[in-house]
């Protein structure tokens, strides 16, 4: 399985990442991707910008582990994860998870698994700048619930 994991302060073009995934890989029948974008509104507050902090080294390691776990659960042909850090503006891509497989069910399952675990396991933290000042984003219990779903079921 091809793997690519990138953490970067530079903006990325989701469109370029997509092209790299299935090119020259004629066994790939399905590519499912998740793109997380910065919204201009969070819990009713207008957000002007966002700063993403991470734990260098551990963040890469956590993402690699999540990708390996997905590859053990489903037959995958390629996975690409790109995560921004640093300063972001509304509409900026934050994260892109892209999974290529022979069949669509496996690709859907693996893509959602990776983003669900990324949200609860990978050491990234968001700070929002609003008109009322800045604050750290609180972890959402929803995200924990999404992760826990995967333990209760077997989607292989």
């Amino acid at each position: 399985m091809r793997r690519s994991i990138r953490i970067q302060a530079e903006a990325f073009d989701p469109l370029e990442v997509a092209g790299d995934l299935h090119r020259d890989n004629p066994g790939v029948g399905a590519v499912v991707s998740f793109l997380g974008l910065m919204r201009d509104l969070n819990q009713g507050r207008r957000v002007l910008s966002m700063t993403l902090e991470h734990y260098p080294g551990m963040a890469e390691k956590a993402l690699r582990r999540i990708v390996e776990e997905a590859a053990e659960r489903w037959p995958l042909q390629a996975v690409s994860v790109v995560h921004r850090v640093g300063e972001l503006r509304p509409q900026d891509p934050i994260v892109l998870v892209m999974v290529a497989s022979s069949h669509r069910g496996d690709a859907f399952r693996a893509c959602e698994f990776i983003i669900d675990f990324l949200k609860t396991r990978a050491p990234f933290w968001k700070k929002e700048q609003t008109e009322q000042g800045e604050h750290w984003v609180e972890a959402r219990s929803n995200d924990l619930a999404s992760e826990l779903r995967w333990r209760a079921r077997d989607d292989r």
């Binding site: 991470h54 734990y55 551990m58 934050i94 983003i115 949200k119 396991r121 990978a122 990234f124």
Partner: protein, 84 residues
């Protein structure tokens, strides 16, 4: 010596990003280290007093309080993650 790193809200609250600490025989695990930090008082007892949840890692792997510590370890404390 061990290295201790703090991230995000915790880093700001404590006013420090990292520190070096000599590993004494009493600090045998993460629970003991956390208790030692809490006893510093002020922002330290606020941060480690249990009001807000704190995650811990040793050598870049998430760890729990029972995790033993060895010389040269890198310990990290941080709030629940919010990436993605």
């Amino acid at each position: 010596m061990i290295k201790i790193r703090y991230f995000a809200r915790l880093r700001e609250h404590l006013g420090t990003a990292d520190e070096q600490m000599a590993l004494t025989p009493e600090i045998r695990d993460l629970a003991a280290l956390t208790e030692q930090l809490r006893r510093r008082g002020g922002v330290w007892s606020e941060a480690f007093g249990g009001e807000q949840s704190v995650m811990m890692a040793v050598n870049e792997e998430v760890a729990d309080a029972a995790q033993p510590l060895r010389d040269g370890d890198e310990v990290a404390y941080f709030p629940p993650v919010t990436g993605g």
